[in-house]
């Protein structure tokens, strides 16, 4: 996990606020303007989950390329063996970082695969909400433009 992004995500909350406020669990992931239009990852998490304190965890597996072949279609996979309630994907450098939130009901695997747009080289963060806490894994994905193919 890139340290800067942890700090960025964690920095906005005070050290005392590590425990999450218990939120009534939504039956379904639903689009909310507040979360998805947030300009910063921490705000997006706050608006999506009611908290933005995160803990890096090797239980969160994020698969994304080191160098994206094409920034318009970057395959991203998040997987976890933890009891996940929800999974989110943040792309720090995008105008609005939150790309996806997925609700994982009981009996559904902690897994989501999709393809994302990335405007520039930046950190991609996978967020897993488990037992009321947010766990993350992130990596930098380089986006290049130019040459013959891109």
């Amino acid at each position: 996990m890139d340290r800067r992004s942890v700090l960025k995500v964690a920095g906005v909350v005070s050290a005392a606020a590590t425990a999450l406020v218990a939120m009534p669990r939504l039956a379904m992931a639903a689009y909310t303007e507040k979360a998805f239009k947030s300009k910063a990852g921490a705000d997006a998490l706050q608006n999506a989950y009611g908290a933005n304190a995160t803990t890096p965890s090797d239980q969160v597996k994020l698969k994304a390329p080191d160098i994206a072949e094409n920034g318009a279609v970057v395959p991203v996979e998040v997987q976890t063996d933890m009891e996940a309630d929800s999974i989110a994907i943040l792309i720090d450098g995008n105008p609005s970082p939150l790309a996806l939130t997925a609700d994982i009901p009981a009996g559904t695997k902690g897994l989501v695969k999709t393809r994302c747009r990335m405007g520039k080289t930046t950190n991609v963060t996978a967020v897993v909400k488990s037992g009321g806490k947010l766990y993350t894994a992130s990596k930098e994905v380089k986006v290049t433009i130019g040459g013959c193919g891109g």
Binding site: M28, A102, G107, C116
Partner: protein, 101 residues
């Protein structure tokens, strides 16, 4: 024909689902030939139901690629039904249903 293509396969009790949804996913940042901004138009919510029960749901931002691809897995079995539906920011919806193979 539906805009959604679903492949759902039972792998030892876990159903592996892959979907492709035909949708332009306009970000609102692109301009047309005359230089006018193309308004944002994207899928916001996707829901998957098996035998009438929600097994997966998610929300997209405009940063999901054109013709969104989504893959997930849930416990189920061959022969069960799987319905995937989406709703975009204009309120338009579409759905497709398949039998798990």
């Amino acid at each position: 024909m539906s805009s959604i293509r679903i492949k759902a396969k039972d792998r030892k009790g876990m159903v592996d689902v892959k979907c492709l949804m035909k949708h332009n996913m306009e970000t609102g940042l692109r301009k047309d030939k005359s230089g006018k901004k193309i308004p944002e138009h994207w899928i916001q919510d996707v829901t998957a139901e098996s035998n009438g029960k929600v097994v997966f749901s998610c929300a997209f931002n405009t940063s999901i690629s054109k013709d969104p691809y989504l893959s997930f897995a849930f416990s189920g079995k061959k022969g069960d039904s799987l319905k995937v539906s989406w709703k975009d920011n204009t309120g338009a919806t579409d759905s497709a249903e398949t039998k798990i193979k």
